[in-house]
Each structure stands twice: as C-alpha cells, then as structure tokens.
C-alpha cells in the first residue's frame, strides 16, 4: 500500500510541474496559499519584488521568496489591488482602502479609508473594479459595475444592467485627497482597468444588454461608452426621461466607438483586465502590445493597437488557448523575469459549472513564435507585419486569406451576432522583398466594420504554421487622404 501511495504521489508531483508547452510559450500552475478559496481579483508586484494578490472572499496575501503570508483579511469583495512597499491599496465594494503594515510584521494593521463616496447596496452585481494609478501622482482609477435587478432573496431577476444609485456604470477617479470624481460613463461591467505605457486607460466591457460583444475601450474623461442607463447621472445629457428610451442614433452619435471588438463565443465572453508587455523582450516579440484574459474561455488574447485620426483601433488575436491554461482569468501582471502571471477567479456563478481559481504563469522559451505581429491600416487595405519572414516560395493566393467583414449592431439587446457578414476576396496580396510583411488590398474598405482574417496557409522558412492564424481588425476610421 505504501509503494502505491508513493507512486501516486510521484505522479501527482510531476503533473503539478504541469508545464504544457508549444515551442515558444509554456504555462504552469503556481502554488497558492493552501486551504483557501483563492479567487484572484487583484495582482501586483511591489517595488521590492513581493507579489500581492487579493481574493474575492476578502483576503490580501503577499508572497516573498516563495512563502505566502496573509497581509490583510475581511475586505468586502476586493476587485483590484495596487502594491507598495509595506502597503497595498484595494478597491472593494464600499470603498477604496489603503492597507498599511505599520509595525513591519508583514500584516496590515491599519485599514485606512481612502474614499468611501462610492454608492453601493446589497446587490449581486455591484462590483468595484480596479485599480490603476492615474497620470498624475496620487490619482487612482477604477470602474463601478452596473447593478443587477435582484429578487427579494438576492438572486438575479434580470441579466440587464441598471444604474439605480449614483455613478454605477461609470469609471471614476479618486484624487489624492480622497475625492471621488466620475470619469467616463456607459460601461456595463468592465472587469478591470489597465494603464498603457503611454499613460492611457483602457477597460474591456463584457457582452450584455447594449454591449453587442465584449469590447475594449480607451477610457478618457467625459467619454460615453454605450450603455445609456449610466446617463441619468450625466448632467449634460439633454433628455430628462429614461435615457434608455432615447433615440438610438442620438446615443450612437454620443458614444465613443470601442477600440477593438472581441467576437463573442469564439474569442472571449467575459474579458478581465489588460496589461502591457513592458518586459523589453523577455516575453517575446510583442513589446508594447496588450494582453487580456477571459473568465469563461481558458484564453489570453493579444491586442495590437494603432491610432488612426487620433483614435485607437486595431487587431486582436488569440494568444494562448487551453493547453494547460485554465479559465477564470481575471487579472494579469508581468513579473520582473518577464513572465505573465495570471490570476484566476472562477467560483460560484463565475465558474459556469467548473470551479476554477488560483494562479498560473506563462513563460517565454526564447524561441521567436511565427505570428502576425500587427496589422496596419492602409488606404487600400491592410499591411500585415509578421514576427518572422513568411516563406517566399509559397505563392500567395488572395482566396486563401479567409477575409470577411461584419459589424456588431449597437442597441438594447443582450448581445448581437456578427451582422451583415460578407466574404471578401482581396484584389491583390503582395509580399515584401524580405518576406516580413504582406499587403492585402481590399476593395471598398468600409468604416465601422470588423475585418476578420484566417491565414492558415502561411508558413515561415522552417515550414512552421502561424501560431495563431486568425486576426480580427476593428476598423472605426479610414485613413484620411
């Protein structure tokens, strides 16, 4: 019996190393504090290299040299965390709180209210997502989720989003003195907020009513991102009746189009918060690009943005899917070694039947993957940039580029399908002399469309296929001539 036990233990130990790999990226599960339900809803490194996580059940844990210690406890569903040396700042349901370790014993002994001017009530949907530092030192930014409609026993009565109390469905700023300032409106339930290396804020709203598919927004002060229920708190909004019954073309004119759409069901159902690759090459050839995970799919996506006429738009791709990666991906952070640390929260109704929470990481092997690096809009089509040159012996056939266009309608329905799907054969495809780019010329390029490409036939000089052959480019603005 003992030998059998030992054999089992060894097998399990090996599987715990759990490195599932393609030649460029591998994923591994990381140990979390044992014996707790570790739904990671906040993830950040302090300057001294300590990893801080917060959990949905209210803990903050700190990991130093592999050992976990509980830093704080008893928070009300924190959904965002920023770490400093000896302190952490969390966004929890009732407030944004600073947790301070005054006596240096590794646990917080002071729970300071930074800002409690956050309207909240008992409701299954009123999350306080966060948390990033603003452009000016001392400012913090987060997002207040919509309220759900609940039955007397607290269970959901409707899947739609409501804003019954001030500034639900708005992003917010908190000043250094703790003043709450509404920032942008119309976000149904954007789970998390990220700040680019250029200091710009982005958040991904989740598909639902008025949100046709999950979509990435640049979040700037004064923006309206689409969900009209939020407008009742906008003093500048011209209509005094229920904003949801406003004419849709008025709302459409007001809203800032999303930078990128994540097609529902095939790419993401419920994205978390974005991070940017600032590893300077330690994570591969995507320096400066954005990564974002999904709660429902075991997938991390990559986003390559460009600015056209002053507005962000661009392409998204699947980056890592399954192969050991688990679902419930909520928060991401890069370690100083250039690994992508993944915080997962998937219990209760978030799990869709499969309980899943904890930590994983994706590491880069050093072998450059063969991928579409980014897609650059042209006057007459798109210029594809690749991480490796494309095999020039292959004769490129426009029919093999799997091009289609569609759009996602804007309206009150709980999600919309891809609409007006058109299959497109490019007029011409041209490879550059060095093979690193391909021009794809599209007849009659249109604004406010998503162009989807499926490029499975391309190979690099070693005969490797594209690691992720499908790309989705959100085209909001055409180049001005």
């Amino acid at each position: 019996m003992k030998k059998l036990t030992l054999l089992f233990i060894l097998t399990i130990a090996c599987s715990q190393l759990g490195v599932f790999a393609d030649s460029s990226y591998s994923v591994q599960s990381l140990p979390t504090p044992a014996g707790i339900v570790c739904e990671v809803t906040g993830l950040d490194y302090s300057d001294d290299g300590t990893l801080y996580i917060c959990t949905r059940r209210g803990d903050v844990w700190a990991q130093k040299n592999g050992d976990w210690q509980r830093f704080a406890h008893g928070l009300h569903e924190p959904m965002g965390l920023l770490a400093g040396p000896g302190f952490a700042v969390v966004s929890q349901r009732p407030e944004v709180t600073r947790l301070v370790d005054e006596d240096g014993d590794g646990t917080a002994d002071r729970y300071e209210t930074i800002c409690d001017q956050i309207a909240m009530e008992a409701n299954f949907h009123q999350y306080n997502y966060g948390l990033v530092k603003g452009k000016i030192a001392g400012n913090l930014h987060g997002i207040l989720s919509c309220s759900g409609l609940s039955k007397p026993d607290g269970s959901p009565a409707s899947a739609n989003g409501f804003s019954p109390i001030p500034y639900r469905m708005w992003s917010y700023q908190i000043s250094p003195s703790g003043e709450f300032r509404p920032w942008s409106s119309g976000l149904r339930t954007a789970n998390g907020i990220g700040k680019s290396p250029q200091g710009e804020l982005f958040a991904a709203d989740n598909q639902g009513d008025w949100v046709a598919t999950s979509m990435l927004h640049q979040v700037e002060e004064g923006d309206f991102h689409g969900h009209p229920a939020a407008l009742r708190w906008d003093q500048n909004f011209p209509f005094s009746q229920d904003p949801k019954s406003s004419p849709i073309d008025l709302l459409e004119k007001m809203r800032k189009p999303p930078a990128v759409h994540f097609p529902h069901g095939e790419l993401a159902n419920s994205p978390g918060s974005p991070v940017w690759d600032t590893t300077g090459g330690k994570f591969g050839p995507f320096a400066g690009q954005m990564f974002i995970g999904d709660i429902v799919h075991p997938r991390i996506m990559r986003v390559a943005l460009e600015k056209v006429n002053g507005q962000y738009q661009g392409a998204c791709f699947s980056f890592y899917h399954a192969e050991g990666l688990k679902a419930g991906i909520c928060r991401l952070a890069f370690s100083s070694e250039g690994e992508l640390i993944i915080g997962r929260a998937g219990e209760g109704n978030w799990a869709r039947g499969k309980p899943d929470s904890g930590l994983q990481k994706i590491a880069y092997s050093g072998t450059t993957p063969f991928e579409i690096h980014r897609i650059e809009l042209q006057n007459d089509g798109f210029l594809f940039h690749f991480t490796q040159p494309v095999n020039q012996v292959i004769k490129l056939d426009p029919k093999n580029f799997g091009v289609q266009s569609y759009h996602y309608p804007y309206g009150p329905n709980y999600g919309y399908p891809k609409t007006d799907i058109q299959k497109i054969v490019p007029t011409r495809v041209e490879q550059s002399l060095d093979g690193s780019t391909i021009r794809v010329m599209i007849p009659n390029l249109e604004e406010r469309k998503i162009y989807q490409f499926n490029l499975p036939e391309l190979k690099d000089p070693d005969g490797k296929s594209l690691r992720n052959p499908v790309a989705y480019y959100t085209l909001n603005e055409l180049l001005e001539n």
Binding site: I12, G35, R93, G148, S150, N349
Partner: protein, 358 residues
C-alpha cells in the same frame, strides 16, 4: 425531514469538494489508502448521505448553526457532539435534558460558556438533532470525523484535508465551508449584514460573541452570540448578498448616535478606517472634525459590553446618549444627568461606557 430548505443551499459546497483537481487526487488517494479496507469511499469533509440525495441530520446540524460551537469530535466553544453523546446516550433522561438545553439555553454544564436558546430551530428539528446527537459515539463515521478535525486543527484550515503545501499559517479564524468562526483573536470582516447600511463591518470576538458596526453611521448596531457569520450568500452562487448571523442577537444599540460634542445634535460623522493590532480592533472616525477612536469589547464574566472612546483635542463638553431602551449603562468617566451622561472634563480624551447584556 422537517424544515430543511436552508440545507439545500449547502449542496453547492457539498457537491463540489475540491477546487483544484490536484488536491482532489491527493485527497482521494489518502482516503483509498486509509479506508480501502473498510470500503468507505465517502469524503468525510461532507455529510455522509444515507441514500445519496436526502439532506441528513449532519446537514441540519450545519444549517442550524450548531457547527459554530460544537465540533463532531473535538471540544471547541462547546462540548463536541461526541462528548455530548458519551454523557447522555445511556442516561434515561438524556434526550429530555439535551432537548431542554437546546430550547431554553444552558450554562455551567460544560464550563463557563453559555449556549443561548436555539429559538431559530423548529421543535421538530430540535428533536431530530437531539436524537442524532446521542448516536454520535456509535457512528461508523467517527474515525473519519476525528481524522478530519485533527488535521483541521493542525493546519488551521478546513477546506482541504491535506496538510498545507507551503508553510503553515497561523490564522485567527476557522472556516468550515462558508461558516467562519473565531478562535482566540478577534477578526474584522466587512460584508452586508442584516439591519445595517451597506457599509457594515462585523467583528468576531472570542467566546462566540460578535457585533456589527456601521461604517456609514460610525456606530455600534448590535451584538449577537453563538458564533460569527455564514458567508454563503456572499461567496457562493451569484454572491453579493447578506451574510447570515450565526446565533442570536443579545443587544441592540440605541438608534441615535451615542456622542454629542458640546450641544450639537446629530453630529456629522466621517469614517476613516480601523486598526487591528491592539487586543481589540478599533474604529477611527471624525465627529464634526474631531478625531475619535472607538474600541468595542465584551466582558464575558459580567456579560457587559464596553465602549471605549478616545477623542483627541476635545475642548467642548462631551455627552453620551444611552438611548431609550431599558438597558443599564454605567461609567466611571461620566456623570448621569437626565437621560444623558456628561463625560468628566479630565476624562474627555479617554472614556468608557458599559452596558449589561442579558
């Protein structure tokens, strides 16, 4: 099987034992190793089911809150279920004695801790629980319950029967599914609480005594006895709902704000946070701009609530309003006037009020 609606809510935790397939594998292997001979493959972390689907008395014992004070085999705030069955199973008056204790409360039979009347449990369920309690010492699951609880005590956690993979943590609370209980050190937990604003803070003290503080009103709301909280509606399913008090309320604070600075009625309060490093947690807030630190404690010997206030820079008189109830308040730091107390000037920086609880 009586009123067991609340039991169904436990099935979520019961039927999804482990959140990591790896832990599940290790656990199953241990069970096979230990219980292969006996042929029992039931996971002892969860209620053994007589026919797989019906809620059992063990579900009822959890749903009624007994688990907060009575472990199956290890003494805790109250005697273990095993100890109760050993004492009363052979006693001809045993059933009646236990039933009586459950209905009317008990004190002194097993030490100093008090069991309040279990008035939230129906007559029928009390009978079921009593009958079941006396069978514990003869149960075939006894050994597995003992194993589970000994590992639990050692590792300070109860969600897994395995020893921690990392260094052991010393946590001040126990967590059985969604039921949290206090061991020896107080714990502070923000959650939605019944009868409170949405900014509610629960504090669990030792001995099964807990209280609710309202961070919007900056005042004590009530005390309860018998355990801490069940976070089921906060943590599971769609979440975001009220946590449940384990036990019964023993004190309701007056609705009015207790302190008056000078003659100002209804002072403006601003919550600043709380500190946890002292013997008791203390709340920090401002009253009309004056900083206050309030500590709330419970003297178990005298069954007395102690409210201690530290007010910085208090230049005006401070009055304490005990409210309209029949509670008996006392203080060494203030003089009682008509319906109000006036804090002695030299005590303004640090004064306490005590109130007797039944």
């Amino acid at each position: 099987m009586g009123n067991l609606q609340s039991c169904s809510s436990y099935r979520f935790e019961l039927n999804k034992p482990f959140h990591d397939p790896l832990l599940f594998e290790i656990a199953m292997l241990r069970f096979l190793f230990l219980f292969g001979m006996v042929g029992s493959f039931a996971c002892p972390l969860f209620a053994s089911k007589s026919n797989g689907n019906e809620p059992t008395e063990k579900d009822l014992y959890k749903a009624s809150g007994c688990v907060a004070c009575h472990r199956m085999t290890q003494d805790h705030i109250g005697p273990s279920m095993l100890a109760v069955s050993e004492k009363y199973a052979k006693d001809p008056n045993g059933v009646l004695t236990v039933l009586h204790s459950l209905k009317d409360g008990a004190k002194g039979k097993w030490g100093n801790n008090v069991m309040p009347p279990q008035s939230h449990v129906s007559e029928q369920n009390l009978q079921l629980l009593t009958n079941w309690a006396l069978t514990i010492k003869d149960s075939p699951h006894l050994e597995s319950w003992q194993k589970e609880e000994l590992v639990t005590q050692e590792s300070n956690t109860v969600l897994s029967t395995d020893p921690p993979l990392n260094a052991k943590y010393s946590l001040p609370e126990n967590c059985v599914g969604t039921v949290v209980e206090v061991k020896n050190e107080p714990i502070v937990y923000r959650t939605y609480l019944p009868g409170a604003s949405s900014r509610a803070i629960a504090v669990g003290l030792r001995g099964g005594i807990s209280y609710a503080f309202d961070a919007k009103l900056c005042k004590l709301l009530y005390f309860w006895e018998g355990g801490f909280l069940d976070f089921e509606k906060s943590w599971t399913g769609h979440g975001g709902w009220y946590s449940k008090l384990m036990g019964t309320k023993i004190f309701e604070a007056p609705a009015s704000f207790p302190l008056r600075m000078g003659s100002k009625q209804n002072p403006e309060v601003k919550f600043l946070g709380y500190r946890t490093e002292g013997e008791l947690p203390s709340f920090l807030y401002q009253i009309n701009g004056l900083s206050v630190e309030e500590t709330i404690g419970f003297d178990a010997d005298n069954r007395t609530i102690v409210l201690s206030f530290k007010v910085s820079d208090a230049e005006e008189p401070i009055y304490f309003d005990p409210g309209q109830s029949s509670s008996i308040w006392s203080s060494d730091d203030a003089v009682e006037l008509k319906g109000f107390w006036k804090v002695h000037p030299e005590k303004r920086k640090n004064f306490s009020f005590l109130v007797q609880v039944k």
